[in-house]
Symmetry: C2
């Protein structure tokens, strides 16, 4: 990294970027948003965690900003860190499972927000197809006697 004014080389420690994604359970399905920005396509609502913000607060904020829903966090699911999961930079995303009432309405980085069933998922950006496969698998396992 260089100073844009004098060109001095600046030492900079680069760290992976913490993010959250939220699986919002609503009316028997889950809420997905269609992205305004690259990479385009459908995705779980989510985004960057602010400095000084807990993962839980970031999850509530991102869900509200992108879907208009006041969600209730049910539990932390899992944290995903494959360096290739986001084509733009290395993000580490902690995924939460949440519930909500009402209907989603797209906001912030989302141009569309809809409820999808497991049998009817659209093509997904990032590693969200893997996250949802893990999620639906965990639900099946939890239902076993």
């Amino acid at each position: 990294m260089e100073c844009p004014k004098c060109g001095h080389h600046l030492k900079k420690y680069i760290n992976p970027l913490p993010t959250v994604d939220i699986i919002i359970e609503l009316k028997g399905g889950i809420v997905l948003i269609e992205r305004k920005n690259r990479p385009f396509g459908w995705a779980l609502p989510g985004g960057f965690v602010d400095y000084g913000e807990s993962l839980e607060k970031a999850a509530l904020r991102e869900a509200r900003e992108e879907t208009g829903l006041q969600v209730t966090l049910k539990r932390q699911f899992k944290t995903y860190s494959d360096p290739a999961r986001d084509p733009r930079h290395h993000t580490i995303s902690t995924v939460f499972i949440a519930s909500a009432d009402g209907l989603p309405s797209a906001g912030d980085d989302a141009c569309n927000a809809k409820i999808f069933m497991q049998q009817n998922l659209p093509p997904l950006a990032f590693d969200h197809a893997k996250i949802l496969a893990d999620y639906f698998k965990s639900r099946t396992e939890a239902a076993c006697p």
Copy 2:
């Protein structure tokens, strides 16, 4: 942030820093290290995740560097993000449960590495007392019929 050469104000996005901590199960106890640096005291082995490194690789690397043990990761436990969990800066730590053979020997940021039993834990740095309370509670719950 300012350029140290010309004083130009630099826009910098500050993000929380991803870290890992590892609960290494060994000989009926868990491995803790005594820290060389502030905050002093005993702690779970762990450290910063490198850019481009998965959480799993970081956990294996930090366990090896600080305890000399080649650990096997059993599962991801939970991710902790309270902005006050580290007095130096905001870190978000994903905790893994691992197993190992042999005996720990301190390295890197650790000046001591020992096996402790639940009944005999030393005072712990960061939020590691809370992490271990959650861990021992989850073991008790898992043992219920």
